[in-house]
């Protein structure tokens, strides 16, 4: 061996482990070469392993291909890398090749997986089964087929479902939806706990950004995700008034103090306690829950639900000390806490800074809502109430006031309804319930007598140029003052962080505490963390929950003395699924009307603080869950993770790139199948019982989907089967002038097998030429004639469905009577054409690897040098140079192996 050569990792790399690739690899392995066999799917075996039997001997495809699979997989000289894609191949000057490749994330540790199939069994998402050519569905967690090598599961994930991606706490909405669909409500609840512990509150009061981003919006309307959550959380809480768990077994000695029992504090406490830390929450109010309890009206979120949600946290041993206002985080550390999380929220009212704000009868919305919820609010029955503001926090007091019997409730807003930051449905709800909107109006002062409010003097406004937020700026119309007599004014003009006690102790800006965005750790004291509204300003409940969860993760690391550089689980999110692609796939889905949560009638709703949204029935919830389009494929319901006995499922798995040097390369990436839908008049894709030849093979395979030959539309045993040859082959209309080379033979095989499976069925083959050219092939064709298969020389021109469900096949009768013929059949099989697999060209510099005029890889000299491409040292085996049957593929693969071997001798002397 010459010494100036680069050291190679393998003598030969074979790309594509179908029949050709396995044969090439085995041949080279037998000669003593070290071979790397790369396959992009999760099993080797290619298309042939999916066949029923093979012509002309009618051996089981399994019997032919499994030995080849085993030979490749167990060969001492062959390494098989499945689920791996080659990205780039470059020829080195010494004749070797530099290869870049990556193993795709399968989310299953192939080495640990035993192929037990439990993940597949429990998986809640189904997709069309490409291994059965979409005749049936398979699970997203799946072992491709029973004879797969290696027999390991793979989980399909094409991206993060938009709902999950958009959720600030990445609650696996797609996951719990799929669990509800499967009737597993407890599992749905437990899944929710992984990302947010306050399930009941979110089910009622979350603004549900997931719904705004739902792909189904592109069809009819969002999936009512929150409604589904409401269903399972109510269902679960009814079954389980108390949590099913207690404190975790492995209790640590570390003590954590949390200031504030709002969503952020509760969430942090929950996840810290789950990790065994001793957590105490300090709450200034009399009861825990923060804004959940005090600010959200009972008609939306009753206190019992907040109580039950809090039990999720306290059951873990978290202690909540109410009526305890903490004024310094440092003092808590002195009391013995190892770390502190400040989550005091943002419930301090802003004021307008105009006259009369201190009058009795003018109050902030937080105060109003809080008093309303605890039953301490002023009596406004029959009175006039003005709410100032246009956000959601204006809608709540307005709608509460209606329920309290106010005669007139007016929302005064300085811009118009279009600019209101409140959700449109909130504004609609308020108006429906009788709230009046007063647009383009702003208080100038509150007027009163004896310290008591009597009216509001306001100014008319007009809209000017857009401001930074893009909304048009309100401008005062000078001299437009007028006065409105009112009994109560509620100011809903904004909230500010409740941080007065901490602004000096912790770095802050404009009243907001500052902490590291990723870790929520504060600068001055690394054991003090801060998060939630006191850091972010008021946002959604689920944002605060996300902050708490994040804080818990990094506090846990801090308390364990580990580096805070570690990624949080959000860092492992995939990219958001391309919704257009999902919608494109689903373009033929029938519309499904959404199931709406039933609402209390308007008249009743106005009189009571009882929830106006009622819960879906089980049936409704499951029906609604069925509208989910499984955007991410895997929904991340985590059932597989829970059930896997080998602990081999890992959603944090990422692509693994690899670079290596090989002495020679053989490409054997096979061919593509032409979509017969391209021949529109033949009805494929429109008429359910017009199937293609590959599907017919699956119907006849030992591992067939229906365990019998049945037609897909109604499961009937077909009695009159048409097999139509040359669809998309020898056909310029689909730009494929080539003969598919194997269609005649596999169709004759189908005919014979069908006659075996359904002895009473009539089988007619419509053909142009029967190309039975290989060893024993013509004899096989003659044999099928002898069995009674009818051969009609004629080209099918149109297939239409009759009212009885059968198909009328119109064909050009080339013999017999001549002219146009028509026949009725109850199953039509289209023998499809094939196309080149052009992926290989992308592995090289543009134009480097030459194609023939039909875009197959070009053999430079098919007569004298089979398997050789224009690149020295790069060889092609099997159908990549032109579709061929198994015997011809095997021979060609042998030739490619010989070429590679002689090349290695020549370049590397081995």
């Amino acid at each position: 061996m010459k010494t100036d050569k680069q050291k190679t990792d393998y003598d030969v790399m074979v790309v594509g482990a179908g029949t050709a690739g396995m044969e090439t690899a085995a041949s080279l392995g037998d000669m003593g070469y070290k071979v790397l066999l790369v396959e992009k799917k999760s099993s080797i075996g290619g298309k042939a392993i999916l066949l029923s039997k093979v012509f002309p001997t009618l051996d089981c495809a399994s019997c032919i291909i499994t030995p080849k699979m085993a030979a490749a997989a167990h060969h001492p000289n062959i390494d098989v890398k499945v689920y791996t894609e080659v990205d780039e191949i470059t020829r080195n000057t010494d004749g070797s090749f530099a290869v870049e490749m990556h193993q795709k994330a399968s989310y299953v540790d192939f080495d640990a997986c035993t192929g037990c199939g439990q993940c597949e069994e429990i998986c809640t998402v189904t997709v069309p089964d490409e291994y059965n050519y979409d005749l049936v569905t398979r699970r997203v967690a799946h072992i491709p087929f029973p004879q797969a090598v290696p027999k390991t599961a793979v989980i399909d994930r094409r991206g993060e479902a938009p709902c999950t991606f958009t959720c600030p706490s990445n609650v696996k909405a797609s996951g719990y939806i799929s669990l509800v669909r499967a009737g597993r409500y407890k599992e749905a609840f437990n899944l929710h706990l992984q990302n947010a512990p306050l399930v009941g509150s979110l089910a009622r009061a979350c603004y549900a950004p997931c719904e705004s981003d739902c792909t189904r919006c592109g069809k009819e309307e969002t999936v009512h995700i929150r409604g589904i959550k409401r269903f399972f959380s109510d269902y679960y809480y009814e079954e389980h008034p108390e949590p099913e768990y207690g404190p975790v077994e492995n209790q640590l000695k570390t003590k954590v103090a949390i200031v504030g029992s709002g969503p952020a504090g509760l969430s942090a406490a929950f996840y810290l306690a789950r990790n065994g830390h001793q957590v105490t929450i300090f709450e200034a109010e009399t009861q825990a829950g923060g804004m959940l309890r005090t600010a959200i009206p009972a008609y939306r979120l009753p206190n019992e639900i907040v109580d039950r949600d809090i039990k999720n946290v306290t059951a873990l041993g978290v202690e909540i000390k109410c009526n305890t206002r903490v004024k310094s985080a440092a003092s808590l550390k002195k009391e013995g806490f190892d770390a502190v999380f400040v989550a005091t929220g943002a419930s301090d009212e802003r004021n307008m800074g105009i006259e009369g704000e201190d009058l009795e009868g003018v109050m902030g919305c937080m105060k109003f809502l809080r008093e309303t919820k605890i039953g301490d609010a002023p009596d406004i029955k029959g009175k006039t109430v003005v709410v100032v503001g246009g956000g959601n926090s204006a809608m709540d007091p307005a709608r509460s006031a209606i329920r309290m019997g106010a005669k007139k409730v007016i929302i005064m807003y300085r811009r118009t309804r279009d600019e209101m930051p409140a959700h449109s449905w909130e504004i609609e709800g308020a108006i429906d319930e009788g709230v009046e909107l007063m647009e383009l109006a702003n208080p100038k002062q509150f007027v009163g007598k004896d310290g008591k409010l009597e009216g509001v003097e306001f100014l008319k406004m007009k809209l000017g140029e857009p401001d930074d937020s893009g909304r048009r700026r309100p401008e005062v119309i000078e001299g437009s003052e007028s006065t409105l007599p009112v009994d109560l004014v509620v100011l809903a003009i904004g909230l500010k962080p409740s941080t007065t006690d901490f602004v000096d102790e912790i770095e802050s800006e404009w009243g907001l505490l500052k902490s590291n965005e990723k870790t929520l750790q504060t600068k001055k004291d690394p054991s003090i963390f801060a998060g939630g509204d006191c850091v972010t300003n008021p946002t959604m409940i689920v944002n605060a929950i996300a902050q708490g969860r994040r804080a818990a993760f990094y506090m846990d690391l801090h308390l364990k003395g580990e580096s805070l550089d570690a990624p949080f689980d959000t860092d492992f999110l995939l990219e958001k699924t391309n919704k257009d692609a999902v919608l494109e796939e689903a373009k033929d889905f029938k519309p499904r009307s959404p199931v709406l949560q039933p609402m209390m009638p308007l008249d009743e709703r106005k009189k009571t603080f009882d929830c106006y949204e009622s819960v879906m029935t089980e049936e409704e919830a499951r029906q609604e869950a069925h509208r989910c389009m499984n955007c991410g494929e895997c929904s991340q319901c985590m059932e597989c993770v829970n059930v896997c006995p080998a602990f081999c499922i890992d959603f944090k798995m990422t692509e693994r790139p690899r670079s290596l040097i090989v002495g020679a390369v053989v490409l054997s990436t096979g061919y593509e199948v032409l979509d017969p839908a391209a021949k529109e008049l033949l009805g494929y894709g429109r008429i359910p019982d017009v199937i293609d030849g590959l599907q017919m093979d699956r119907l006849l395979a030992p591992t067939r989907p229906y365990n019998s030959v049945l037609r897909p539309s109604d499961g009937k045993e077909p009695e009159s089967i048409a097999i139509v040859l040359c669809n998309g082959s020898r056909d310029h209309t689909v730009c494929n002038p080539l003969c598919c080379r194997i269609g005649c033979m596999y169709s004759v095989k189908h005919a014979q097998l069908v006659m075996g499976a359904l002895p009473l069925a009539d089988v007619t083959i419509y053909y142009i030429d029967i190309r039975a050219f290989g060893k024993g092939y013509d004899e096989f064709y003659e044999q099928s004639k002898g069995m009674g298969v009818e051969f009609v020389k004629g080209k099918a021109s149109r297939i239409r469905q009759l009212e009885n469900g059968n198909m009328e096949l119109q064909y050009e009768d080339m013999e017999g009577e001549g002219g146009l013929g028509k026949r009725e059949h109850d199953l039509v099989v289209l023998t499809v054409g094939f196309l080149p697999n052009t992926e290989a060209f992308g592995l090289f510099k543009p134009g480097e690897l030459e194609a023939d005029e039909h875009q197959y890889v070009r053999e430079i000299d098919p007569i004298s040098e089979p398997g050789r491409t224009n690149i020295d040292g790069l060889f092609a085996a099997g159908a990549i140079i032109g579709v061929r049957d198994i015997p011809d593929t095997v021979l060609h693969a042998g030739a490619a192996a010989t070429q590679a071997a002689t090349y290695l001798k020549q370049t590397r002397g081995k």
Binding site: S27, L28, D30, M31, G32, V54, D59, C60, S62, C63, I64, T66, P67, M69, A70, P146, Q147, A148, V149, K151, P702, N707, R730, L738, C739, D769, I770, R771, A772, F773, G774, K775, G776, Y777, D778, E779, M814, E817, G818, D852, H854, Y856, D861, P862, I863, S864, G882, V883, P887, D888, V890, L891, G894, A895, A897, T898, Q899, A901, T902, K905
Partner: protein, 583 residues
């Protein structure tokens, strides 16, 4: 009675191939409590990787010392499971294969109860045999890094070059005086548009320059002895000189014989009725208009499938029922060559192609299309009504029915009738007697399995390629010859080969050398040797195939085949009728 064994029994569903007709669970249950059976269970596909892994784990965990798998034919998977046994550290010869598919389920599809009973009997016999197995080791033979290639057509020449490139010494022999074979007579060939003589010339240059290749023309094999890895072949060279070659493998690329029509078959014998190859020669030689009998050729009729796809009839008692594969390509390509000539010379030639199915498969289709669009008329005939060729003076007339015109009878006047004659297996009795390669029904050499082992033959170490195995185009022939090279390389590049130890064994005490076994052995594997005073039979391990004709002829029961010993066979019979007795 044998010692206590620990046997694992696995019954295969074969994805329904077996379990649809045999109750495999019942079969597995029946033997589960047999004294030497430790485990008995079923698998959907015992051959699948996952099932193999489970069995391996179980063999190791339960420390099994015998294995019985009831599945398909041993021809398919015996080696699969032997390999698996080795991976489980179980001697592969303590594995017994029971054929529950070809010998049970597939032949009793209408009687599940009966088939299940039979399955149990077969399995019991297998277990009984397994109980008496002993660990055996393969017989390792050193292989010779030399190859004999028989037949120096393009396939053989190309194979020789690659074998030599791999570092093996190659003896390439050709019966004719010149290497090259039929390619020398084809002219330009489609679709690559290469001239056969050019192809041959280029290969010959490479061969002559290659230090590892020795080409002998006018040479024939006269005898062969030895076995895989180590053959001794005598070759007769010109001048009756005989050389003895010691080679590790033999690649047979003896090609085909063109079909010669019978007298009057499509007018054969009449002037102007010629085989395609002669017409091609005419085209190749034409440097102006195409002439026949001194007149320019105006009408040519091509008749396809001559000597191919024949149906059995009185006039054709031994039909060539196969398709000859190359002729549609060759004839349609000829049509395009004729078009080219028309273009060049301005001579109009009407072409009538009388075909049955035009089999320009795969990427050959555009040639057919080119022939059609160039103006060639294609007419289909049916074997029940073949074209009739008649002669009147110089004028040939072809009568045929045109199906497109509703079966109307056409009379085509033709200057030439070109017969697309098929391929026939080469008459090669001497070589066949020497090499003993089995033939398929069609008379071509038979491969072991079209898909699994397409270039290997039942004679280990003897490979076949090209049209000797069946009709092919030239490119396909070369691909197959390089596939044979790959297998040859796989055999010889390692330097050794492991042979089956399931061969004859002589009991030296009982043997009295009567010579009966020597007479019975077709492989020459028996020798007479002296052990002290005594003359006894000796088995040449590398030559014995374990076929067993020596066993029944021995008057003293002194010879047995390992793996098929008398005690094993008797035990199998006893076991398989056990249930019949106890009932």
């Amino acid at each position: 009675m044998a010692q206590k064994r620990r046997i694992g029994v696995y019954v295969c569903h074969c994805g329904g191939n077996i379990s649809d007709y045999v109750n495999v669970e019942e079969v597995a249950d029946a033997v589960r409590n047999d004294p030497n059976v430790v485990v008995s269970r079923t698998h959907m596909f015992t051959c699948s990787d996952a099932a193999q892994q489970e069995m391996i784990d179980e063999i190791k965990e339960k420390q099994l010392d015998g294995l019985v798998i009831a599945s398909c034919s041993p021809k398919l998977h015996m080696f699969t499971f032997r390999g698996m046994s080795e991976r489980a550290n179980l001697n592969q010869y303590q594995y017994i294969h029971v054929n529950l598919r070809e010998q049970c389920s597939w032949v009793h599809t209408n009687d599940k109860v009966g088939a299940t009973k039979k399955g149990i009997h077969l399995l019991r016999a297998g277990i009984a045999k397994c109980e008496l197995t002993v660990p055996l080791n393969a017989i390792r033979i050193e292989t010779k890094p030399r190859v004999l290639v028989v037949g120096a057509g393009v396939s053989g020449m190309r194979a020789a070059i690659s074998l030599a490139d791999m570092g093996l010494a190659v003896f390439l022999i050709e019966r004719e005086a010149e290497a090259g074979g039929w390619a020398l007579q084809t002219g330009k060939m489609g679709p690559e548009a290469q001239d056969g003589t050019d192809v041959v010339a280029k290969l010959l240059t490479r061969i002559n320059q290659h230090e590892n290749i020795m080409l002998h023309t006018s040479a024939e094999v006269v005898s062969k002895s030895g076995s895989i890895g180590d053959f001794n072949v005598s070759v007769r060279l010109p001048g009756d000189e005989t050389v003895s070659l010691n080679v590790g493998a033999i690649v047979v690329t003896t090609g085909f014989e063109p079909y010669t029509p019978q007298t009057d078959e499509y007018g054969w014998g009449a002037p102007g009725v010629i085989p395609l190859k002669d017409f091609r020669q005419m085209l190749a030689e034409a440097d102006g208009p195409l002439m026949h009998n001194g007149k320019p050729v105006r009408d040519v009729a091509f008749i396809y499938c001559v000597g191919s796809r024949q149906l059995k009839s009185e006039s054709c008692p031994e039909p060539n029922s196969y398709c000859s594969r190359y002729c549609c390509l060759a004839t349609t390509y000829t049509a395009t060559l004729l078009h080219d000539l028309e273009q060049k010379t301005g001579q109009p030639v009407n072409q009538y192609h009388l075909y049955r199915d035009v089999r320009t498969y795969g990427a050959l289709e555009p040639i057919y299309e080119k022939a059609r669009t160039g103006g060639a008329i294609f007419l289909r005939w049916d074997p029940s009504n073949p074209p009739q060729v008649t002669t009147e003076g110089d004028q040939l007339t072809v009568k045929a029915k045109d199906h497109l015109l509703g079966g109307e009878e056409l009379e085509i006047g033709a200057d030439l009738v070109v017969l697309a004659t098929g391929m026939r297996p080469r008459e090669n009795d001497t070589l066949n007697d020497i090499l003993k390669i089995p033939e398929s029904k069609d008379g071509f050499y038979n491969e072991i399995h079209l898909k699994l082992r397409p270039v290997e033959t039942m004679i280990d170490g003897v490979f076949i390629a090209g049209t000797a195995q069946g009709p092919k185009t030239l490119a396909e022939s070369v691909a197959s010859s390089l596939a044979a090279v790959a297998k040859t390389g796989g055999l010889l590049m390692k330097g050794y080969v492991d042979l089956e130890p399931l061969i004859a064994k002589v009991d030296t005490d009982k043997c009295i050398w009567c010579g009966e076994c020597l007479k019975a052995c077709p492989y020459g594997a028996i020798e007479k040797v002296n052990v002290g005073e005594k003359e006894i039979a000796f088995v040449i391990e590398s030559m014995c195939k374990g076929a067993g004709p020596c066993v029944p002829v021995c008057p003293h029961n002194a010879i047995e085949i390992e793996g098929f010993r008398d005690d094993q066979i008797t035990a199998m019979i006893d076991a398989s009728i056990k249930e019949l007795e106890t009932k």
